[in-house]
Symmetry: C2
Subunit: 110 residues, 2 copies
DNA sequence: ACCAGCTACCTTGCAATGAAAGGTACTGTT
DNA sequence: AACAGTACCTTTCATTGCAAGGTAGCTGGT
């Protein structure tokens, strides 16, 4: 998978979903997501900052036995709503793209 | 559908697929795709230029009864290969994103 | 004490791409 | 002539992912 462009906007959704399941810190998130989708720290940290700034996450620090303190991210209520909206949009979007590429945009629809 | 970012890279695939089915001109393409995905001329024309420059399309002009001449785009062999590669990548990508957001990145996998 | 390697955080500068806004030009109708 | 519709094109901007680099703490080996 070399196509960077596919990822645009989708990483945001992945991050929102994973943090929604349990509080996570950035480094953990990178390792978690990158099992599936190639991703680097330089992508995740700015994304986490932005989503926090936009009110979708709160953060807190916790000590670690194996290194510097970890900054955990927790999904807010607004974040949950945003996540749910994005999931619906993702679903609709994939459906529409598949309409275009599998039926050639010639399929009858509303 | 307000999320612009989802579209990044995917429009390229849509354009390749549609032109692969039959020669199309830009204006027609905009109207065709925008039934499914919001899109504007300012997006399509630069994209068509780029894909032509990269050797995926050839072009020819044809007169029109109802306005200025139309510039038709035709998919090259290289374009067909690229289209097929992109389709496979899109499929894989969607599968992986769904793994992350539906199984929380905890599903066993190669 | 020193160093390597890992964990964990962060930033700057860059490239790609979609969109808004604007421009050109032809045809047909009024 | 004026206008609407078709059809092309460009410039400028915002967003976002990445490479590269920087800071700092902990662990284990020498």
């Amino acid at each position: 998978m070399e196509n960077i462009q596919f990822k645009k906007g989708v990483l945001e959704l992945c991050v929102l979903v994973l943090v929604g399941q349990q509080d996570l810190y950035g480094y953990e998130l990178v390792n978690n997501i990158s099992k599936y989708i190639e991703i680097s720290e330089g992508t995740i940290y700015p994304l986490l900052r932005r989503l926090t700034k936009e009110g979708y996450f709160t953060t807190y620090l916790a000590e670690s036995h194996e290194g510097p303190p970890r900054k955990y991210y927790r999904l807010t209520e607004g974040g949950q709503r945003y996540r749910d909206d994005l999931m619906r949009e993702w679903d609709v979007f994939v459906g529409r793209v598949n309409s275009v590429i599998f039926q050639g945009g010639r399929h009858e629809q509303g």
